[in-house]
Amino acid sequence: MNKLIQNTLTCLALFIALEQAQAFCGFYIAKADAKLFNNKSEVIMVRNGTKNVITMSSDFQGNLKDFAMVVPVPVILKEADIRVVERNIFDMLNDYSAPRMVEYYDTNPCGYDAYLEEDSRNWTLDAVATSKVMTCSDNTSLGVTIEAEYHVDEYDILILSATESEGLKTWLLANGYSIPTKAEEVLEPYIKSNMKFFVVKVNLEKMKNRNFEYLRPLQISFDHKKFMLPLRLGMANSQGSQDMIVYAFTQNGRVECTNYRTVKLPTDRNVPLYVQPKFGDFYKALFERSYLQEGRNAVFLEYAWNVSPFNSMHCDPCVGPPPVHREFVEAGVDWLQGSSAQTIFFTRLHVRYSRDKFPADLQFQETPNNENFQCRYILTRPAYGEFDCEAGQEYLQTLYNRRTREIDEVTALTGWSKEGSDGYLNEYATLMNKQKSIEKKNEILPGLFNSFKSNTTGLLMIFSIIALVSIVLFSQKKFFEKTV
């Protein structure tokens, strides 16, 4: 009896220690940022009522005289509505909201506290991003009206309206804006929807006066009820899929897509230590797998958080310093007055789109959903020292079971095979005195979880609902029989 109490208390102490460790947000060790993905573009969208501010990144690599951008916009923009912003705004937002890896440390229940602190902070992957110009189309035709012409810093901008797509296409081609042949199939619907065309070229003379060769992002503002992202034009010159990362800022809550499903990526998953050096590959595989599982036509949520200046906790843990007032204003947020208690909600959406699965432009809505969300993957480093006490032996069993689940988790998330993971699984098994026992678990349920991507809470709820419905229906059956 005493031994039972002693064991229970030891387990409880261990549990509490682990719980307390889990309550801490974890040490940030790595992030999976946008640069991992080839063929990607980034857009900042700020929405306040019907006011839209859209900032488009431009990672064009090539001869600047070949650069041309065509973006459908719902209104004729004024010169004051167009500005050039610095490129680092995208890097800052990307760093801040990127999926992250964190680590915890187990404590040795036998009382050994010394452990090595590995220098594993702020480690990022090197990846070469080859972005493409967001839209690039050439057309020359009659029926084209130049509604406005502006010169904003290093860009020459035209706002065009057209009466028919052939005319617009001919005009653009004749004026040196090359667009792919397939683009005309979307020009006509845009023209019929009363869209104008924001057409951009680089002013080579002004570029010579600058000290750098890269193109800075363009930001446009306009007032319109439509809250959408015209992707179709960008699909015209692509055979496969492209990635787009949207950083959305709103006053009230999360932004979601209304004509495609918005799905959360898996988060808060425990993964093995060997994932750390290849976190970028892990996240890419996870994203690819989720993308395929959702039918290739979903928009994924990677981050959603209230980043208001007065809100002290912006992330858990934080990958970098939070955006400050000046940076929000740079991104297009215009409802901040001083540092008073206005809300800013930051949503990061990642969509991999292709012509076959995304035939229509993305439509969005702002919701009051203020639930915080971030993609977070957890490493737990085992305790150091000797495990010769009884609690230590039990800890080793727990460690073995946890590592089994971590390996299963990685396979479920990425599709990677378990080959080669035996070493990791059995690393501490040799320290166990008694026969190790595989944790008994139902093999059917994990498969069910994996295939349905749900958690235990969801299943419990399903059963509760079925039970409640059955009770109501069958109790009513008795009533019905009585009244007949």
Binding site: E256, T258, N259, D356, T367, G458, I465, F479
Partner: protein, 292 residues
């Protein structure tokens, strides 16, 4: 001897099966409840919705308690709990809110309206529609997600099957079909003929799960639609046309939902113009008046 015992056993099994089938078909709400539970399970398991049991429990308990209150004090029959269950499932499927309390209030609004806002002995609004719209307008912390189902043929098949079962039973197929057909025709002419988009753009719009759910389960609510068949068809077409306009020209998300709410007060006018008996859930055999 064995053959006789086997025969008796088989007869009993067939009889039991017949009884269960007869019971299921006796009330259209049975099919509706089954369909809604299937949709909820599909949404949670296959579509990966956020399944917050506290919100579902709040909706369920709010609806049940309000209905029990009405049964006790307003004299409505106890099988009306089935309607309350349908409302709670409707809230769970459609309403999104930051807090479970909002689900509770939506439930109370939904059920309360049935007894407090009656015209000609019939409650006006579809309870789920009323509860959701009111909580969205009053709280600012609730919303609906038109994109939560996605689009696709499988989705249409699942919702369509459930819808057909319900509507065939309650003889309200024309309401759902008129709505969907009007939307199809208007969207076809705008998307394909006028704008010149491709067929898959149209298919994406028309295979949206929210649209089908609305067409087969919400606008077809027999207790909150005009009594006469011709009125219902006109009503459906009107709601569809206005929804189409608001969606495409005013860019309002979830337009059918809002149109239904604001158009509902016109139903008594339709009933006044063309008179027809009201709908009752329990059919044929019962001699007891069971309107709720």
């Amino acid at each position: 001897m064995n053959g006789t015992a086997c025969q008796i056993h088989q007869n009993m099994a067939v009889k039991k099966q017949f009884e269960i089938t007869r019971w299921l078909q006796s009330d259209g709400r049975h099919f509706q409840i089954i369909s809604q539970v299937v949709f909820l399970c599909y949404g949670i398991l296959a579509l990966g919705w956020d399944a917050d049991w506290r919100k579902y429990l709040a909706a369920f308990s709010g609806c049940m308690l309000a209905q029990l209150f009405a049964i006790r004090f307003a004299g409505v029959p106890s099988n009306s709990l089935k309607s309350a269950l349908i409302t709670s499932l409707g809230l769970s499927l459609l309403l999104k809110a930051n807090s479970p309390w909002l689900f509770l209030f939506a439930a109370l609004f939904a059920i309360g309206q049935k007894f407090l806002l009656k015209v000609n002995g019939k409650h006006l609004w579809n309870p789920a529609n009323f509860g959701i719209v009111l909580i969205i307008l009053l709280s600012g912390e609730a919303w609906i997600s038109p994109g939560q189902w996605g689009s696709g043929a499988l989705l249409v098949f699942i919702i369509g099957t459930g819808g057909l079962a319900v509507l065939s039973n309650i003889k309200r197929l024309e309401t759902g079909v008129s709505f969907i057909l009007t939307i199809f025709i208007l969207e076809f002419f705008r998307t394909i003929v006028y704008l010149g988009w491709e067929w898959d753009v149209l298919f994406l719009k028309l295979s949206n799960g929210s649209l089908w759910l609305f067409a087969l389960f919400m606008i077809t609510d027999p207790m909150t639609t005009p009594n006469a068949r011709s009125s219902r068809i006109v009503w459906s077409v009107a709601v569809a046309a206005v929804s189409f306009y608001l969606t495409n020209f005013k860019f309002i998300n979830g337009a059918p939902f809002w149109v239904l709410f604001f158009a509902t007060p016109f139903i008594p006018l339709f009933d006044h113009l063309i008179k027809s008996p009201s709908f009752h859930w329990m059919n044929k055999k019962s001699n007891v008046s069971l309107s709720k």
